[in-house]
């Protein structure tokens, strides 16, 4: 989980996590929860009263096999893998639906339990196609991981397997392979309980049962790809990610999603070619277990194809290419002391540290109080879908507003328009949007701002509108959010610090580095980016998932 500090406001997203597990075990519901002591595999542990045995295992980092249980969903009790032996009860019980009682003695390491779990896995696998070599889930599959942990038997299944539908389009983003499906019903429960869109159901019965949708009702809600994340096997795959990369060729790192002001905690999966996908990371103060589909696409604007790659100055039909560092140094000398004739336009895409650095530069070095806030979609700014997705499609509007308020800046966009028109403002420096798709007024704003005598555009994305400008224009590539460290403040005031993940565009600078260069300071060597793939420290690119991770992560 990322380092974050809650301002104290409860997150509406959290209220919607109708998770019995969380309320009971993590104890958000009852702060004065009574504790119950029990013994697991001979070890004394304590959990909140009313917790299940599964939660006791999970919160104490004790291994237990399971598929259908998920801390963010209701209990289904159908995979029958989380078998435990309770002293005094001759029948094995499932841990997920059994509440702890004081003094209970539970184990899952007796021969009886191990045999039951082994057979439970075998039942899951007898009709599974075992097509790992062509399956996207391979490398991060619950069946593979738990087989290595609890199975390791030779299958005795010699009969033909059940044939089911393959490559089923459940919706625009999710593809189903029914033969791989283990019918844990996590996805069905997700659409019933979290997205509340009820698209999925299990049709037919017995070993002919298949997940599916009703005709004309595809899985098309804005949270559909979460079903891919929670699918423990390769049954549900993301249309965006499938067949693009093997999981073990990707590194993962935690950061946040910058698609809107919720700031969902995510993992980005990347290699030297760039980012490939994003998955949510549990944070009870921000996004719970989930993230939206719109947010999942936000890795695309970070990748090289969408990026502004070199710095250049265009003046009177003459184009001069140079490094970003060189351009920043040159701008330092041209902007210094220009005073009120220079204006700064900021968008909500940057970190608090960058805002502070550039505001301080403008105040002290340029000597201009003309700072303006470019609001991308004012009409839908306050909208909210009730779960995670917000109309304010900037990760750090709140951080920007805080910095602007501290600096006492209150100017409106109208003042800028008038000042450009009257010639009072000659130079406009823009810290442009990172995700241009969220700025429908991009073209209009470029046209408007380029009326000034000189336009300095700092941005991470390439844009045909910018390339087409012919006046006095300087384009300066900046780092995207995965290439720098800094703080984002989400809509409710949660401050989230993210660390640099990787480098996509070597040579791009952060606003802080641009300020340093403009001031003639030396940029610290460690901040100078380099491209290249550095393998994960432990193992050769082993991807951790919920079945292999150390516990206590949710």
């Amino acid at each position: 989980m990322l380092k974050s500090a809650n301002s104290g406001q409860p997150s509406p997203a959290m209220e919607l996590q109708s998770s019995r597990a969380l309320e009971r075990a993590v104890g958000t519901a009852a702060p004065t929860g009574e504790m119950v002591a029990l013994t697991i595999n001979g070890r004394e542990v304590e959990v909140k009263k009313g917790a299940t045995i599964m939660e006791a295992f999970y919160l104490n980092n004790i291994d237990i096999a399971y598929y259908c249980w998920h801390p963010g969903l209701s209990i289904a009790g159908v995979c029958r893998l989380c078998m435990v032996e309770i002293e005094g009860n001759p029948r094995l019980q499932i841990a997920c639906n059994t509440q702890v009682t004081p003094g209970m003695k539970v184990n899952n390491n007796s021969a009886k339990v191990k045999d039951a779990v082994k057979w439970g896995l075998d039942f899951h696998l007898i009709n599974h196609p075992l097509d790992c070599p062509i399956c996207d889930q391979a490398g991060e599959c619950g069946l593979q991981d738990q087989y290595m942990k609890y199975g390791q038997y030779d299958s005795e299944m010699g009969e033909r397997k059940v044939k089911k539908h393959k490559v089923v389009d459940l919706g625009p983003r999710v593809v189903l392979d029914s033969e791989r499906c283990i019918l844990c019903a996590r996805c069905v429960r997700f659409t019933d309980e979290v997205s509340k869109s009820h698209e999925l159901g299990i049709f037919n019965r017995g070993d002919r049962a298949e997940v599916g949708t009703f005709d004309g009702k595809p899985l098309a809600n804005n949270y559909s790809v979460n079903t891919v994340d929670i699918c423990p096997v390769g049954a549900l795959t993301s249309r965006d990610f499938r067949f693009r990369q093997r999981a073990w060729f990707l590194k993962d790192a935690e950061t946040i999603c910058t698609g809107c002001s919720t700031g969902c905690n995510v993992k980005v999966y990347h290699n030297k070619e760039g980012l490939f996908r994003m998955k949510p990371v549990y944070n009870p103060d921000v996004n719970g277990h989930w993230m939206c589909d719109v947010g999942r696409d936000t890795y695309k604007f970070v990748n090289k194809e969408a990026r502004l790659l070199d710095a250049k100055v265009v003046n009177g039909g003459k184009t001069e290419h140079m490094s970003a560092l060189e351009l920043a140094k040159r701008l330092g000398s041209t902007l210094k002391g220009t005073g009120k004739s220079t204006a700064l336009v900021l968008t909500g895409s940057y970190t608090v540290e960058e805002y502070e650095a550039i505001l301080s530069y403008f105040k002290n070095e340029v000597g201009s109080p003309n700072v303006f806030h470019w609001i991308n979609n004012p009409e839908s700014f306050e909208s909210f879908d009730g779960l995670l997705y917000r109309g304010d499609k900037n990760p750090n509007t709140r951080g920007l507003l805080e910095v602007l308020a501290q600096a006492g800046i209150t100017a409106s966009w109208k003042d800028l328009t008038e000042a450009i028109g009257s010639g009072a403002i000659q130079t406009v420096v823009v810290a442009g949007p990172e995700n241009q798709a969220n700025f429908p007024d991009m073209k209009a704003k470029i046209a408007e701002l380029s009326r000034a005598a000189k336009l300095v555009w700092m941005g991470s994305g390439k844009s045909a509108d910018l390339e087409a400008l012919s006046g006095d224009v300087a384009l300066l590539p900046v780092k995207s959010y995965v290439e720098k460290s800094g703080t984002f403040v989400n809509h409710s005031g949660v401050r989230q610090h993210v660390d640099r993940v990787t480098t996509i565009v070597p040579g791009a600078l952060s606003l802080t580095e641009i300020v340093q260069a403009m001031k003639g300071e030396v940029i610290h060597p460690s901040e100078i980016p380099h491209a290249g793939f550095v393998p994960n420290k432990v193992g050769a690119g082993r991807i951790n998932n919920e079945f292999t991770l150390g516990r206590g992560v949710w």
Partner: protein, 431 residues
């Protein structure tokens, strides 16, 4: 000993089906009496009678009623008429011959457990009995026996019939509740049990047709008279459905504790000439099979059959003579459970299919060495591993058939033909 027509006393009279005929023979007198009693008195009487659930599990009815929480929530009484255990057809006879007996029993029980809404959940294939029940319910409603202020007592109880779509799993009480709620017929996780959170998450009692009908004579004669029938642990009489290789298959009411062989040889007229008894499935297809030797001293009560490793179940006795190949019989049974598994729990969903495919392979001459051991292992791992008892129901016949008639299975695998019917082609029902 002989047949004891206690519940089925008037079943032979066609007029018993009608409200008028039923009333003439003492019908609805017990309801009138009950409505003047303390509800708890009725519960106590049922408890004292030792009546046990006739649907299969044999749980003490009065005790079950006692599980209802006193939380002021509305309560529901559901009659389980989804009689779908292969071999069972006694509820059908009861509903066809004496629909008002069931309705009266339900109204008394509803009054006893303070429920104002009762449903009869009847299986989809029972269109005949459903029509008879519909008529009877309409008659009773018109006569003021169902609805508001029944017989001027101030007690309201609505009673409706719900026709299922024909699934074995909807006979499992929580599966039935799911189906009644409009959901896919799948059992629910327990706890919570239906008595605490059942239909619409409200306290609910689910009883079998025969159980609810038995409440009428228990109230009429008192627990002491009822207890005169049967044994100490299995009180009363029971209707048994006998099918298979007997001369007179049908439904017979005998006191519990009645010798199995007497029922076969006396009531049912014995086996066909020249045939000898091979095996008996005493409690519906899910009950472990008994060999002819085990049948000799078997008595039809909960405790004796449990001691023999089988169960009384729903009282469906399937008689198998020496003309049958046990592999064929198990093939049919395992096809049924594969077809009916709801698919929720993995061991049952996958195990039922796996076992059927193995047995099907044997029947078609594709058996492999080791299949017998594998079947036993699979069945053993399916037992007691799932939400409901369907997995056990599928595993128990496999375990008992294979263990008790191992020679037939091994012969079939080795010789690629049946020990009983030879190489003759068996008309495989399942495929």
């Amino acid at each position: 000993m002989a047949e004891a027509k206690y519940l089925s006393e008037h079943y032979s009279k066609p007029e018993y089906k009608t409200l008028e005929g039923y009333k003439k023979l003492g019908g609805y007198e017990q309801l009138a009496r009950a409505l003047k009693m303390e509800p708890q008195k009725i519960v106590d009487e049922v408890k004292a009678s030792g009546l046990r659930g006739r649907g299969g599990a044999g749980f003490a009815t009065g005790v079950k009623w006692g599980f209802l929480p006193n939380n002021g929530e509305p309560r529901y009484l559901l009659c389980n008429a989804d009689e779908s255990e292969p071999g069972t057809f006694k509820d059908r006879v009861m509903m066809e011959k004496a629909p008002h007996q069931l309705i009266e029993g339900m109204l008394i029980s509803a009054f006893a457990i303070k429920s104002n809404k009762a449903y009869i959940y009847i299986r989809g294939e029972y269109t005949g009995p459903a029509a008879i029940l519909e008529t009877a319910i309409a008659e009773a409603k018109a006569a003021g026996l169902i609805g508001k202020n029944i017989l001027g007592s101030g007690f309201d109880c609505d009673l409706d019939l719900y026709l299922g779509a024909g699934a074995y799993i909807c006979g499992e009480e929580t599966g039935m509740i799911s189906s009644l709620e409009g959901l896919k017929g799948q059992p629910k996780l327990k706890p919570p049990f239906p008595a605490v959170q059942g239909y619409l998450r409200k306290p609910t009692i689910v009883n079998n047709v025969e159980t609810l009908a038995a409440v009428v004579p228990i109230l009429r004669d008192g627990a002491a008279v009822y207890r005169k029938y049967g044994t100490e642990k299995s009180a009363g009489t029971k209707l048994f459905s006998i099918s298979g290789n007997v001369n007179k298959p049908g439904t017979y009411e005998v006191p519990l504790g009645y010798p199995l062989m007497d029922l076969i040889n006396i009531e049912c007229g014995g086996l066909k000439p020249g045939r000898t008894l091979k095996a008996v499935v005493p409690g519906g297809s899910s009950a472990p099979v008994l060999t002819a030797a085990e049948c000799q001293n078997a008595t039809l009560d909960y405790e004796n059959l449990a001691a023999l490793g089988s169960m009384l179940g729903s009282g469906a006795i399937i008689v198998i003579d020496d003309s049958n190949c046990m592999v064929d019989v198990l093939s049919t049974i395992s096809h049924f459970y594969h077809h009916e598994s709801c698919g929720q729990c993995t061991p049952c969903r996958e195990g039922t299919g796996w076992m059927e495919r193995i047995i099907h392979g044997i029947v078609h001459g594709h058996g492999n060495e080791g299949d017998v051991e594998l079947l036993l292992k699979i069945a053993d791992q399916m037992k007691g591993r799932t939400i409901c008892a369907l997995s056990d129901a599928a595993a128990l016949p496999v375990l008992s058939f294979v263990e008790k008639f191992k020679d037939e299975f091994e012969y079939f695998i080795r010789e690629k033909k049946s020990k009983v019917r030879g190489g003759q082609i068996y008309a495989q029902v399942s495929q």
